[in-house]
Amino acid sequence: MTGAVGAPRRVPRGAISAATIVVFLIAWEIFGRKINPIFGSYPTAIARAFVTLAQSGKLEKALLQSLASFLTGYAAAVIVGIPLGLVVGRFPAVEAAIGFFITAGYAMPLVALVPLLVLWFGLGFTVKAVVIFLMAVFPIVINTWLGVRTVPKTLIEVGTAFVAPKATIVRRIILPATVPYIMAGLKLAVGRGVVGMIIAEFFTSISGLGAIIINSANNFDTATMFVPVLLVMILAWALTQAIGALERRVAPWQVELAGREES
């Protein structure tokens, strides 16, 4: 805490978040119980379904299957996305050549293309990783690209004035200056990647958390359906937090400049 001496103590942000979550769960419990269990569910029913699903071993297996494809697709998106964004942002000729594909690709209606991808890559792990990659790579490229474009010209001139080679300017000036944008892209990509993962598993419907969702929905087991839905959301939240922590590690100056203690 960096608060001034004598300043009133602020309520910890974690406590505020916890309080809203508790209020939300209580409200959901009260209203959820009044609804036909086919059309809705409520926290305690979902918790019971979670225990059943976890004890059967299905949840763990599905989670590991989903995570494996997610991490593969997401890692590929990071490895491709950041350098591509740097190059597109830095070199106007490259921007002119492929900028259109990136902007248009971001809006690609991937749901429509998944059946085609299934034909190409089958029903297994590969197609899921490909769909997750395609969903996650665009926000990473676009954010990195925009980030490069916002690097102050004067900072680049510092490199030029000291006769830094082009590659050094990219690595030692543009990349660090772009870190906050890259991190924002990585966070957006988590959400998109998770959506991609579930979409892919809907179509293949034989593995992963998406398969549990679609199979329990088909059985009108709404409470069980909510288990992977919530799990995926919590997973995405945790990953986003992890990226925030990573940002504070690799770019502490940025966090200090913005004057925010935690996100």
Binding site: T154, L155, E157, V158, G159, T160, A161, F162, V163, A164, T168, R172, I173, P176, A177, V179, A251, W253, Q254, E256, L257
Partner: protein, 266 residues
């Protein structure tokens, strides 16, 4: 050695104004020779081309015509023979003060162990030893600019180019830095080309003051004050100080009252 010659420097910009392309002349035949070890101040109204001239000497911009010679060699782009001090220091925010100084040295190809020793020497010269581990946002404006100066000096350039480096500082800090710069100059005898708006600063620091207007040299005023000028208070009380300042002021105000840029439709 660091003699700088600006020979018939000209610079024109294309400017998009109201959907009409216009050509703006920023420099129109600037000739100037700065002797080795001399401090020459460039001053003039906004848009007179003083910063453009400095940036061309550095190599950050290309002249439309003319040449820049450093020690008789024509410059092509930036080089380690010239060190730039930017208007707002322009430290890399993710690096500490020491790392910012080291950055310039690394670009010059210096490796450990000299790297650490040299950076340390110039941080000390700037009175920054205690702040070496701080990042720019943890430094005051004056300290930032001292790091900027240390970074430029560390690569041991023949010529130091300074673009209104103290313009954004408060009066007291500015005076401290001016005195420090005079001390550094007395010790290193670097050639300095210095852009300023501040007439006091021009007289205090300069051997000569170049008054510019409309992209050319209007007048060059000699500053007859003796060196070393490290006793800033005594210098300011010298009647020659006020006289020289007044001459520059007159020169600035004598010129025809045209807009600073000569705008010629393309």
């Amino acid at each position: 050695m660091g003699e700088v010659q600006l020979i018939d420097l000209g610079k024109q910009f294309r400017l998009q104004l109201d959907r009409q392309e216009q050509i703006v002349t920023a420099l129109d035949g600037v000739n100037l020779t700065v002797a080795d070890g001399e401090i020459v101040m460039l001053t003039g109204p906004s848009g007179c081309g003083k910063t453009t001239a400095l940036r061309i000497v550095m190599g950050l911009e290309r002249a439309s015509r003319g040449r820049v010679l450093v020690d008789g060699r024509e410059t092509a782009g930036c080089g380690h023979d010239r060190g730039m001090v930017f208007q707002h220091a322009e430290l890399l925010p993710w690096l500490t003060a020491r790392e910012n100084v080291t950055f310039g040295l690394q670009m010059k190809g210096m490796r450990e162990p000299e790297l650490r020793a040299t950076a340390g020497t110039y941080l000390e010269l700037g009175g920054l030893t205690g702040a070496a581990g701080r990042r720019p946002h943890q430094l005051s404006g004056g300290m930032k600019q001292r790091v900027g100066i240390a970074r430029a000096l560390a690569i041991d350039p023949d010529v130091l180019l300074m673009d209104e480096p103290f313009g954004a500082l408060d009066a007291q800090t500015r005076e401290t830095l001016q005195a420090q710069l005079l001390e550094i100059h007395a010790r290193t005898r670097k050639t300095i080309l210095f852009v300023t708006h501040d007439l006091d600063e021009a007289v205090l620091l300069g051997d000569r003051v170049v008054v510019m207007g409309h992209g050319s040299v209007r007048e060059i005023v000699d500053v007859p004050l003796p060196r070393p000028r490290t006793d800033v208070e005594a210098i300011r009380e010298d009647p020659l100080f006020a006289q020289t300042r007044h001459r520059i002021w007159r020169s600035l105000h004598d010129g025809p009252r045209r807009p600073a840029d000569a705008v010629v439709p393309a």
